[in-house]
């Protein structure tokens, strides 16, 4: 319950923060702290320095920049979940933000912190993947941009190096798309056992285009491209969508744990994908 001693810095600019990361010490970046602090309290880590981004005002908030939405890395899940711009143009991201952990955690936890933490059961990664997000990373030599598809590398590992910071997330606007996130848990505050996210653009009674992502089906969030292709042009009916989603788990590599084995997760992925796609397509379920 009591973390080890560490030095604490709370820079006010990104440049200062980045500079602190290459000071030769074992540094941990503190965003919302909702994953880091439990680890520190359990003493599963003892960094020499903690660099808090809480005072870097530039990293907060959601804005529109041309045909993109820009979400500052320090924007909280609660802000993302209730932001009107996001609700209008990036529905899946907003919906997913509202399912993360619990209200108190959403009030402190940040989108940047969550995705850099890169827990395979973390919910936001998939939504960013489905949204073709571009991740802006600041480092000692300036900033670079990495697409979400290349951002998630492995369990708890992203493209952000130890001397770098994720500063913002850029999303192309998705107007006229329906979105749904089917998060499967045993109790409300649990991490996703499996979750499926879908963004669907319909044309008449058909699915024109779909984007489908899976959470906790691998070491990183996975896009179900085969399902997406199969869904194109499919009528919005239970049977047609189910058949297109049947292969949702193909190519995934889920773990087995206390909440279910890999086979169960594959099955869940299929069911949840179908439900998410139908809901995103505005299908009134049975």
């Amino acid at each position: 319950m009591i973390p080890s001693q560490f030095e604490f810095r709370a820079p006010t600019t990104v440049d200062e923060a980045v500079e602190l990361l290459s000071n030769g010490m074992d540094v941990k970046v503190l965003a919302g702290g909702q994953s880091l602090l439990p680890v520190l309290k359990l003493r599963m880590a003892d960094p020499e320095m903690v660099v808090s981004l809480t005072k870097v005002d530039a990293l907060r908030g959601v804005r529109r920049d041309g045909d993109q939405l820009v979400i500052g890395a320090m924007t909280t899940h609660a802000e993302v979940a209730t932001d009107p711009l996001i609700a209008a143009h990036a529905g899946l991201v907003g919906k997913v933000a509202g399912t993360i952990a619990d209200p108190q955690v959403r009030n402190r936890g940040t989108i940047g912190g969550a995705v850099v933490h890169a827990d395979p059961a973390g919910d936001m990664g998939g939504a960013l993947l489905a949204s073709d997000a571009q991740m802006t990373i600041a480092g000692p030599t300036g900033t670079r941009t990495v697409p979400a598809a290349e951002f998630f590398v492995d369990f708890f590992t992203t493209a952000v190096d130890e001397d770098e910071l994720l500063t913002e997330i850029r999303l192309p606007v998705f107007d006229g798309w329906g979105a749904d996130y089917q998060k499967f848990t045993r109790v409300a505050q649990q991490w996703s056992i499996v979750a499926a996210g879908a963004m669907v653009r319909t044309s008449g009674d058909q699915i024109a285009e779909a984007r489908v992502v899976l959470t906790n089906m691998d070491s990183v969030p996975r896009r179900a491209t085969a399902v997406e292709q199969a869904l194109a042009g499919v009528p919005v009916t239970e049977e047609a969508v189910a058949s297109a989603c049947a292969a949702a788990a193909e190519g995934t590599n889920p773990t087995s744990d206390l909440n279910g084995d890999a086979e169960y997760r594959r099955h869940l992925a299929t069911v949840l994908t179908r439900r998410a796609v139908l809901a995103a397509a505005g299908h009134r379920g049975t």
Binding site: I2, Q5, L42, R186, V187, L258, Y264, H267
Partner: protein, 801 residues
């Protein structure tokens, strides 16, 4: 002489609780809130290994760390720490391993304490605890109950076996019924089933905390305990501290559920540490420590054989248990399964019954009381078996129960397990529950979903239960070799102004005793509810007591209050008679007024109180005090009962289970405060449902607790539970004048089988015969898959009655 006023009876009123005032404003007095001048803090070093020999402990770095006062190991304390007490040796031959507070040579579960740091701050203690270097030599670990019972590896070599004791009840021997083998042999149907009562973690919300102040000659301990009185005597016996030098205080205690019915190594250690350094010491555990170091509950393997005739009449029941003790025997570890021995027959009339339990050691933290303690296990098993029988015979589960239960006109009834049930009306509770539930409507809905092949199937779970409460008649405890009696103590003190102080020997930790006792005393003395103060939880204030567990507080502790109050009235009548110049026999007392029979002459309780205090003019030889105390020993247990009905939705695509509707009608006798009784039922239901659906303490094969935090050990939060429909019938207990039975455990005991029966009822037509608890989505889904793949062998879909 005042005029009598009509006053509303307090008993039965939904009074909001008095004790809430400080709890809702943050003025609470939990042990960890206590700070004493010069107080030092403890941190524990716990073994990460489940079984190992300690080959060396290097404490030098920790001892010289900043702020550290002293470091203690098992070797340092070996001479004084004694062995943690087991107060319930169930047989004379019971094997009880030594249980040091701090491990000396070996550790036997992951989480066992191996060293203690005493420092000036909690942070310094925690920092230094990391510097202690313990060398272990691994020993083979046994975590599986059935494996341990085979003695392939003996955990405590000196005992020669992992089997602690075997305890048997046989109705043929007891003269309460026939021979079970004979009964089963003559039965038309015999059903055999094995159930696993998974290991549970009590998960009280307040982590345990202890503060010890070794001032001068007296040692004062504050502890987050359910049992300050038992703790005091046990500490005295374990450590050789004179009992009179020990004062134990249970201040506000944040829940217990049996989990704080324990004498803990942490309490012993804090006391020894404080005595060594001569300064107040505090130890507050982290939740991670609670999960691995505080006792768990349940953990039994149950094998039952139930015989019946085709008309549904049960002929006999044979129960064989393996009960997991964990690594050691705690305060009443060994007796927990025995508390269930008397309840396997439930509310039914069986003609033959045999129970055999073997207690077994494993390399896990020890088990002990957890809400219901033995009785939920028994109730689960018999209520599951009754549903199995109904399925086997194609009968409605309610009908099978009706066929076998004790009819209300048959009370008092001596059961095959030798208990005398004083009262009950199972018909009334069941009828009311069926009506509130809309049983027929839900059966119709169930049929509709089955016929349409709805992916979300509906099932109805029935649980009719009783439990033995009001622990306990001392002579019964004696017969069971329990180390103490089951009486309770109370004192009623009358202040000069007519205000009343009630001292109770029970030790509330959320049950609302202050409010309920105030209601009882207000009615019996005719004083305002607000004028009653209830004192408890401090061995210097409540000098005697047996504390709070086993739904005993009201049926036993409340009765002690009644007895003490009655004595006050008897004394006060003498004073009133003297004041009214009448004979004591002619004094009547009602509504706070003493009056002379047949006259309008009277004095109030307050007048008598003041006159007694002044003592200017009292009857000759009358001791100038109305204060009275009483010790009440119940003549029998009390037997609350009820009918619980759960409509369960099972999503056959995912295995996800949802409580669609939950109705319970409990009969807990007379109700002092319906608000509190409903609250007890709600909370009990939540815990029972959690066993059915969510909770399980899981160890891996090397003895690491995998569910070591609330991230993995799934305690439900608000969205995970339904709105309950709670109602009651009233059949007063006949063994106490309040007519009360106890309600603390009812919800927990009844709900678990209702939920599981409901799940099975929803998917039995798919060929599923059982789902082990907790019925997680993956287990439910797997059960459906297995039934589908072995579809040919699946029984014909049972037509829902």
């Amino acid at each position: 002489m005042t005029i009598m006023e009509e006053r509303q009876a307090e008993i039965g009123r939904p009074r909001p609780r008095k004790e809430d005032a400080r709890l809702i404003t943050g003025r609470s007095r939990y042990t960890d809130n206590i700070t004493l001048p010069g107080m030092l803090h403890l941190a524990m070093v716990r073994s990460p290994l489940a079984r190992a020999r300690i080959t060396g402990i290097d404490t030098s770095a920790a001892a010289s760390a900043p702020g550290v006062v002293q470091v203690l190991t098992g070797a340092d304390l070996a001479a004084e720490q004694g062995s943690m007490p087991n107060a319930w040796p169930i047989t004379p031959e019971q094997k009880t391993p030594p249980h040091p507070a701090v491990a000396v040579d070996t550790v036997n579960f992951a989480g066992e304490i191996v060293a203690v740091v005493i420092a000036r701050s909690a942070a310094a203690a925690r920092d230094a605890s990391e510097l202690i270097d313990v060398d272990y030599e691994d020993l083979p670990v046994v975590t599986d109950l059935a494996t341990a019972a085979r003695d392939e590896e003996v955990i405590h070599p000196d005992l020669g076996t992992n089997r602690s004791a075997t305890w048997v009840f046989d109705s043929a021997q007891a003269g309460t019924g026939g021979d079970v083998e004979e009964a089963l042999a003559n039965s038309e149907v015999v059903i055999e089933r094995t159930f696993t009562q998974q290991r549970l973690i009590p998960a009280f919300m307040e982590p345990r905390s202890t503060v010890v102040d070794p001032t001068g000659e007296q040692i004062t301990m504050w502890s987050a305990t359910q049992i300050p009185h038992v703790l005091r005597v046990m500490l005295a016996l374990t450590l050789g501290v004179p009992e009179s030098k020990l004062r134990v205080i249970a201040p506000d205690v944040g829940g217990g559920f049996g989990g704080k019915l324990q004498v803990t190594p942490e309490e012993v250690i804090t006391l020894l540490a404080a005595r060594r350094v001569g300064k107040p010491c505090k130890y507050t555990e982290t939740r991670s420590e609670t999960m691995m170091g505080a006792h768990h509950g349940r953990d039994q393997l149950q094998t039952l054989r139930l015989g019946a005739n085709r008309d549904g009449t049960v002929t006999g029941l044979d129960v064989r248990l393996l009960a997991d003790m964990g690594a050691y025997l705690g305060l009443i570890t060994s007796g927990i399964p025995i508390l269930g021995a008397f309840m396997y027959n439930g509310i039914y009339k069986f003609s033959a019954y045999r129970f055999e339990c073997t207690n077994v050691f494993t390399n896990k933290v020890w088990t002990d009381a957890y809400r219901g303690a033995g009785r939920p296990e028994a109730t689960f098993a018999i209520e599951r078996m009754m549903d199995e029988l109904a399925t086997e015979l194609g009968m409605d589960p309610i009908e099978v129960r009706r066929k076998n239960w004790i009819a209300h006109e048959e009370f008092p009834f001596t059961t095959v397990a030798s208990l005398e049930y004083d009262s009950g009306n199972y018909e009334a509770a069941t009828d009311k529950a069926l009506e509130l539930f809309d049983y027929e409507g839900l059966r119709a809905e169930q049929r509709r979903r089955r016929e349409s092949g709805d992916p979300v199937q509906l099932g109805i779970g029935v649980s009719t239960f009783t439990e033995m409460c009001g622990l306990a008649p001392s002579r019964v405890l004696g017969a069971l070799d329990y180390g103490a009696g089951g009486w309770e103590y109370a004192q009623v003190r009358v202040l000069p102004t007519g205000n009343v102080e009630v001292v109770t020997g029970v030790s509330p930790h959320g049950q609302g005793h202050v409010t309920a006792w105030s209601q009882i005393v207000a009615d019996r003395l005719g004083v305002p509810f607000e004028n009653v103060e209830v004192l408890y939880g401090d061995t210097q204030v409540a000098q005697r007591g047996m504390d709070t567990y086993g739904s005993r507080s009201l049926a036993v502790g409340g009765m002690a209050v009644v007895a003490a109050t009655d004595k006050v009235v008897e004394k006060a009548k003498q004073v009133a008679a003297h004041m009214l110049e009448a004979a004591t026999e002619d004094i009547e007392f009602s509504g706070g007024q003493f009056s002379v029979r047949g006259t309008d002459q009277g004095v109030s309780f307050n007048d008598v109180a003041l006159a007694t205090f002044a003592a200017h003019d009292l009857p000759d030889g009358f001791e100038p005090s109305l204060d009275s105390d009483a010790t009440f020993d119940p003549e029998n247990f009390s037997f609350p009962h009820g009918t619980h009905l759960a409509a369960m939705e099972v999503d056959t695509e995912t295995g996800q289970v949802r409580v669609h509707k939950y109705v319970c009608v409990d009969d807990v006798g007379h109700v002092i405060n319906p608000l509190i009784v409903d609250g007890q039922v709600h909370g009990g239901l939540a815990q029972g449902i959690a066993q059915a659906l969510f909770e399980e303490a899981i160890y891996d094969e090397s003895g690491t607790l995998l569910t070591g935090s609330f991230t993995e050990y799934l305690v439900p939060s608000a969205p995970d539970l339904p709105e309950f429909t709670v109602d009651r019938t009233y059949t007063p207990a006949t063994t106490n004048v309040l007519g009360v039975k106890g309600v603390g455990e009812a919800g927990t005991i009844a709900s678990t089988p209702a939920i599981v029966n409901g799940i099975l009822d929803a998917i039995r037509h798919l060929g599923v015969e059982d789902v082990p608890m907790p019925c997680s989505p993956s287990r439910v889904w797997n059960a459906i898959q297995q039934a589908r793949t072995s579809g040919q062998q699946a029984p014909e879909p049972e037509v829902a009655p």
